[in-house]
Amino acid sequence: MIYNWKKIVRYGLPLLTLCVLIEIFAGSILQGNQNVIFKLPILLISFPVINSVGGNIGSILGARLASGLHVGNIRLDIKDKKMHENFITSRLLGLITYAFLAILIYYLASFSNISMDIGLMEFIFILLAVGLILICIVSVVSIITAFLSFRRGLDPDDFVAPIVTTISDTVGIILLFFIVGVVII
């Protein structure tokens, strides 16, 4: 097989190092906003979920776009119809998942002993707002990375997924704090 450990390490390590650095930055944002988390512990349950859903949707979109670019039924064009379809599908997917998650997390939290200073509608609104903006940003990132992997002949699985999940983590944390700040204050 073409893949041996040397090759995997050589291609994987630089990108993963970059991703780790970005993730540390995201973690430090989390640490800097401790007081918000103490006020609303429900956010702690939401972080991993928001980030992973955003990253997954972005990775799926990226892999599909990379395939489409190779075949030629998707062109890198703002007016391209297939591109719009993919965009809308991933946004719809995100909308449904985040709405479902918001309700689930809220009731899970209310069963356990977590102090709740936030209403259900407010919480759903926060998650949906974060989700929609996050998916828009992640989609743009995954389009760019998919195009790059097509131009260079890189494996989209090795390349698109790490970048998109890292960006999704960072942007997700920033967005959640921002929107919580806007809604609560």
Partner: protein, 219 residues
């Protein structure tokens, strides 16, 4: 450097044909989509047939060089399209559809190879090839004139049943200065028309006699 020297130097460089240069370039990943590659292959397979026949028809070596170049180019494109298809396949549905596309590409490549074989006729010693081959064919092309005392005057082609009786198919009619190409069964024959027809020697004899008025009925 004098003009003559320069020309001889350039001449030596040009002696390596274009197709040979193309053959020795390396195959590597290029970001071209499967769609574009297939379009190009389709275009080449159309063009290469035209060129191959033209090369034999006009007994022209330059056109045959172009055919060889396109044949090599087609081989390259076939490699490229396979590479891109492998990169693109992700699910079993993708793989099924791309397998069909590769089959079409393979067929286009086969067409170009056959066109390359046609061009090999130019290496034959008794040239020009085409007239020799056409003389051996069962069906030939003839020119016939309709005389005044023929029964065919002012009748339709369909009425006379020329094709079913003699096996001759009329390709074109020349009347004075203008031409009727591919006449249908409702086209009317007039005296002193020239017909261009395709068919066997026997059919030609019958039709010629009929059109000259020596035969009254076609049987």
């Amino acid at each position: 450097m004098s003009e003559k020297k320069k020309r001889s130097f350039l001449g030596r460089l040009q002696r390596t044909p274009k197709w040979k240069k193309e053959e020795f370039t390396e195959i590597e990943y290029k970001p071209t989509t499967v769609k574009d590659l297939l379009t190009e292959m389709k275009d080449i397979s159309e063009l290469i047939i035209d060129l191959a026949y033209s090369a034999v028809l006009f007994d022209n070596n330059e056109i045959s060089e172009e055919v060889k170049y396109l044949e090599v180019r087609m081989d390259k494109l076939n490699y490229d399209i396979r590479i891109m298809a492998m990169m693109a396949a992700r699910t079993k549905e993708d793989a099924e559809q791309l397998a069909g596309i590769l089959q079409v590409a393979q067929a286009a490549e086969k067409i170009s190879n056959t066109a390359g074989d046609i061009v090999l006729l130019l290496k034959d010693k008794n040239r020009p090839t085409l007239s020799r081959i056409l003389n051996k064919a069962d069906e030939k092309i003839f020119r016939l004139n309709i005389s005044k005392n023929s029964e065919a005057c002012d009748k339709k082609i369909g009425e006379l049943k020329i094709e079913s009786e003699t096996g001759m198919r009329i390709i074109a009619i020349r009347r004075n200065d203008f031409w009727i190409y591919n006449p249908q069964s409702d086209a009317v024959l007039k005296s002193d028309d020239w017909l261009i027809a395709r068919g066997s020697d026997e059919g030609f004899d019958d039709l010629d006699k009929f059109l000259k008025g020596k035969l009254k009925v076609l049987e």
